[in-house]
Amino acid sequence: MIDLLAIAAFNAAYAEAIDSDSLERWPAFFCADCHYRITNLENERDGLPAGIVWADSRAMLEDRIAALREANIYERHRYRHLLGLPLIETADAHCATARTPFVVARIMHTGESGLFATGVYRDRFVNLDGRLLLAERVAVCDSTVTDTLLALPL
């Protein structure tokens, strides 16, 4: 049975990987044929499928990190994720769906620090050989506005 503690611990490790700049570890939280999307509440309400990030494979997530490291140009910054308790919707030994609220602060290299995004992860977890992995994570931002750019993942 996938339980609250397992999902909360998973989320803590997920956030720590991003916030500590261990971005190369981030794709490994997903299955090979996962879906990951960053969108907003209005698109979800209106049934609009696009994302500002839209991936249907772990390889696409790896490519995004490679692009951030090697190709894309942005000012140095970090995130600090604060994740709420998961609200578990369904769970059994193999599969679980849950919603977890997030608050992400962005800390610029200049020292400027501010609220960057709030929202909820809509998740589907699977248990693969005893390891919890994300089959789907849709980060639904509460606001439709993204400040400047979104480089690091949510």
């Binding site: 960053i38 969108t39 907003n40 209005e42 698109n43 609009l48 499928p49 696009a50 994302g51 500002i52 990030v53 839209w54 991936a55 249907d56 494979s57 390889a59 696409m60 790896e62 490519d63 995004r64 490679a66 692009a67 090697e70 190709a71 894309n72 140009i73 942005y74 000012e75 439709t144 506005v145 993204t146 400040d147 400047t148 750019l149 979104l150 480089a151």
Partner: protein, 420 residues
């Protein structure tokens, strides 16, 4: 002639260009509040057509959206006659917003403050307690509702795009766009589209810095390193920049050069390839598209003065609306599109390719930040100029893309309207 503060208050030019040439752009234009106020009057509420929305977004009678013309809030709505009307989103009474939602359906619009009511054409049709209560109070009998209302805008529709203007003097939309720009819009919007997502990017810079960025074909391969880093062969490409006679509209495009392609079989089967394992996309499906235009054009970025962009990057279609929010802040509204008759597979391709654009786009995220670098860089340089001389001094169309011709074109149109 010197320009004092007194002159700017009197409606005179607040910033002085050093010459008639378009190759030196005063940095003060990006930071001066008097310039920004004058732009609202002379550009956004002047002789231009401003993009408001897609017809498809207000398809049925009563459907409306609220948006902006520059910083002026407007309502755009379809009435029972099928026509589209646009009027200022400002109650004639005390000036409050008439419609608060971004979109919806309405039989009429009622201001929440004192319940003054407007029909879908912006006519004032109801004043609460107009005749007072029990014969006391109320408006004077001389008050004429027909004489009061929010300003109405002219509306023009082109290829499913809805434009509006405060000006009675602006040419009809076909003349405003001109044949060449119109044809390039029709090329993409030749059949019905539908919205597949909306995102807003808040840019930490003056609106003109983003518009210049869109028109600047010089920066693309220098700032955006995604394609070069992953050694993505973009085939042998040719292209160019089209600038319309007013200077304000442009198209930059690239296309497969069939002559070069035929001579090299390695280009034949795939749109990307790298001999280096180090930087190779693990899932190249992000760039795997399908051919849907028979002219071989793989990228077309089109702008309509002052702040509208139509984008085709491979199969990724989007509209961008550039809205100033004060001197040093801009909102960029992205509307991602698909065709109504897309197959499921085609739609998936568009969703995947949307990773290239938007606030997190592989080839566009830098554009969200670079305007801010300029805005921060020019603090203290209000008597200095930017250099816009790549490709010479002209504003004509060009087969080279290492040129700033369409940026100069923007300033040509801008100076005419601003009377600078």
């Amino acid at each position: 002639m010197s320009h004092s503060m007194g002159e700017s208050l009197a409606g005179q030019r607040p910033v002085h260009w050093k010459s008639e040439r378009l190759t030196r752009v005063p940095f003060a234009l990006y930071a001066d509040p008097d310039v920004a106020a004058r732009e609202q009057r002379r550009i956004f509420r002047g002789e231009v057509w401003n993009y408001l929305c897609l017809e498809a977004e207000i398809a049925e009678p009563g459907r409306f959206r609220t948006t902006f013309v520059g910083e002026t809030p407007v309502v755009v709505v379809r009435d029972d006659d099928g026509e589209i009307y646009a009027f200022e989103n400002r109650c004639a009474h005390r000036g409050a917003l008439i419609a608060l939602e971004k979109s919806g359906r309405a039989d009429d619009f009622q201001c929440v403050y004192h319940a003054w009511t407007y029909n879908r054409r912006g006519d004032l049709v109801g004043v609460a307690f107009e005749n007072g209560v029990k014969g006391k109070g109320g408006m004077p009998s001389t008050f004429c509702k027909d004489a009061h209302g929010p300003r109405r805008l002219r509306v023009a529709r082109f290829c499913g795009l809805v434009f509006a203007s405060f000006s009675e003097d602006v040419p009809d939309i076909d003349d405003y766009l001109g044949d060449e720009i119109a044809g390039r819009i029709e090329r993409v919007l030749h059949k019905p589209v539908e919205v597949i997502g909306r995102f807003t990017q808040a840019l930490p810079n003056n609106w003109k810095l983003y518009v210049e960025n869109v028109k600047d074909s010089y920066h693309a391969s220098l700032l955006h390193l995604f394609f070069t880093t992953f050694e993505l062969n973009r085939l042998s490409q040719k292209g160019g920049v089209i600038v319309d006679p007013s200077g304000g509209h442009h198209v930059s495009y690239s296309m497969i050069d069939k002559g070069a392609q035929d001579g090299d079989s390695s280009y034949r089967d795939q749109a990307l390839r790298s001999d280096s394992d180090r930087y190779r996309l693990r899932d190249p499906s992000v760039l795997t598209g399908f051919s849907e235009y028979d002219d071989g054009i793989t990228l077309q970025i089109l702008s309509v003065f002052p702040g509208f962009v139509l984008q085709q990057i491979q199969n990724c279609l989007a509209l961008r609306q550039v809205l100033p929010k004060g001197v040093a802040r801009t909102e960029l509204n992205w509307t991602y599109l698909g065709y109504v008759d897309d197959t499921a597979e085609q739609r998936t391709v568009r969703l995947k390719q949307s990773n290239l654009v938007g606030p997190a786009g592989f080839i566009s995220m830098e554009d969200g930040a670079v305007g801010g670098f300029v805005q921060r860089g020019i603090a203290g340089a209000d008597d200095h100029d930017a250099i816009v001389e790549m490709g010479g001094e002209g504003t004509g169309s060009s087969e080279a893309r290492a040129t700033e011709t369409s940026v100069r074109g923007f300033w040509k149109a801008y100076r005419r309207l601003m009377d600078e």
